[in-house]
């Protein structure tokens, strides 16, 4: 048979596609970011707390307040303040915190690693326990194992974090002495940490390991265990519940039978065939919960004296320290967008159907 070729349309070049994707991602990022700045800014103006009062304190006279207001640029028109702010942010200047009197960026460099450390360990904990628990429950739906997983998860969900934290401290620190009691290292080691160990990442576990200070490292582990377990419990609760529900769905698919027909052992059917499919929606779930943890949990940080982002932003908020609130929000937003993108990339890696 003869077939006359109609010229096929040329597929746009790979390079152009790539640039287009990158461009659209960057654009979306910038839009989110600008929106974030805008909303934060507006919020800063509607919150009924006068930032100047926070700076000058209770005793200040009216004249001192006015002077401070001018110094902070708060007397200028709103749009101008916003414009100045955005321009500065894009130059990497998040302004100066009214409360700590330091550049917000520097403050955040101090508090964010602490939160990052906690959130990361907690998420790892949540993933390592939540997925198996959810799978276990899904493979035995309706049994007592399923119920136990559900109750444990729910308990995690409905217990206030300070309750868990304080009880954990009472038991594991107060009574058993297995873990450290608040702060990132004990007071014997804190001087070493502060004055001797070079600060590379700000994450104690990494910095102390880099410096070869294993005593500090060990101590830091003891201190991080409890707060991250408490936070991890929450992500575990959520992840296990979602895993169960996704898993149940996958296990009723035909391809699972196919795998069994091939004589695949049960572990492989569940942990390879089904789990790979479960990972597709689960990635979003995990990313979201990680991002939420990175916002910092004020209560956990308070109970464990963990100087993190949550406490920083909340403090700033209550003192109407708007540069700090804005800065914190911007950083949280950035982290969020980054994690979103990461989860998108992972998603594409795992799910071939997503273009």
């Amino acid at each position: 048979m003869t077939i006359t070729e109609t010229p096929a349309p040329r597929s746009p070049s790979k390079l152009w596609r790539r640039t287009k994707t990158v461009l659209s991602v960057v654009l979306a990022l910038a839009a989110t970011f600008l929106g974030l700045l805008f909303v934060t800014f507006i919020i800063g103006r509607v919150v009924p707390i006068d930032p100047v009062l926070a700076v000058v304190g209770e005793r200040a006279s009216q004249a001192q307040i006015e002077a401070a207001r001018t110094a902070l640029g708060l007397d200028r028109p709103m749009w101008e303040q916003f414009y100045i702010y955005v321009v500065n942010v894009f130059q990497g200047d998040l302004g100066t915190s009214l409360l700590t009197r330091r550049p917000v960026l520097e403050d955040i460099k101090n508090v964010f690693p602490a939160t990052l450390e906690l959130a990361t360990i907690a998420t790892i904990f949540g993933v390592l326990t939540g997925i198996p628990a959810g799978v276990l429950a899904a493979t035995r739906p309706g049994t007592w194992i399923d119920q136990i997983v559900r109750i444990i998860g729910l308990a995690g969900y409905s217990t206030p974090v300070f309750w868990l934290g304080l009880m954990g401290l009472l038991l594991f620190y107060g009574t058993l002495g297995w873990v450290g009691g608040g702060g990132r290292v004990s007071n014997e080691f804190v001087d070493a940490l502060e004055f001797d160990i070079v600060r590379v990442t700000g994450i104690v576990l990494i910095d102390s390991a880099l410096a070869g200070e294993w005593a500090v490292f060990g101590n830091a582990v003891k201190h991080a265990v409890l707060p991250s377990a408490v936070l991890g419990y929450y992500s575990m609760a959520y992840i296990s519940r979602m895993t169960r529900s996704f898993m149940l769905n996958e296990l009723s698919q035909e391809y699972i039978t196919t795998a069994r027909v091939k004589g695949m052992p049960e572990w492989r059917v569940i942990w390879v065939h089904a789990l790979k499919n479960v990972m597709v929606p689960l990635i979003t779930v995990i990313a979201l919960s990680y991002a939420n943890l990175l916002e910092g949990s004020v209560l956990t940080e308070t109970v464990f004296s963990w100087p993190g982002l949550g406490m920083y932003i909340t403090n700033a908020l209550f003192s109407a320290d708007m540069p700090a609130v804005l800065g914190g929000t911007v950083v949280v937003g950035l982290v969020f967008v980054a994690i979103n993108m990461l989860s998108d990339v992972l998603y594409r890696l795992v799910d071939p159907r997503a273009k």
Binding site: M1, I3, T6, A8, P9, R10, S11, K14, R17, K355
Partner: protein, 251 residues
Amino acid sequence: MALIEVKNLSVFFEAGDRIVQAVKDVSLSVDAKESYGLVGESGSGKSTILRAICGLAPISRGEILIDGKPLETPRGRAFTRRVQMVFQDPYASIHPRHTIDRTLSEPLAIHGIGNTDARVVQALKDVGLPESFRFRYPHQLSGGQRQRVAIARALMLEPEILLLDEPTSALDASVQAETLNLLNRLREERGLTFLMVSHDLAVVDHMCERVLVMQHGRAVEEMEHGALANASMKTDYARMLYEASADRMLG
């Protein structure tokens, strides 16, 4: 003048980094009240042509005319009242959470046609389903029954043209027979025009006045009804198809 005219239609899909040419430069025309068949290899673009008419696939080149007039994009309400489609997979084409009643009355509601109850009952009767099925959910029906519901739904708006995408390939022989009979009866009663896809030559031969054979997205050969039975096809591919089928038919 032809009711449906497809002129030099090409359909391209972007799939990842590749361009898939699903349909290449296909022309066909269907007269009013005619039944026109599309057969051919799997993946040769048969479904895509139907989808392109409905606006579910892009028209990359060429044009499609109904009654000599080009189609508007998106297809308007007038179009939907003239042209309806029955999908290949009766399991995927009916909303799993809606009762049959809801599925059938939906088009009436969309077009503000009253007298719903009577029409739904009549539609069920037309496709030979008992009235008691009216409030069932799709999962309570067999594949053949679902396909009849899909046909009933397509007929709710009393269209002139029915696009049928392998309406019986998911059905077994007895149900297939029922469905084919039903379609023929309805065509006669209502003067419908069919554009029908199938990969079963016997079905097409039974149903259609003219047949277009497709391969690799291209039209290979158009045959009149008699030509198939006489085995008087001109191209190798059409002959191959015929022989492989006839082989079984006669054995």
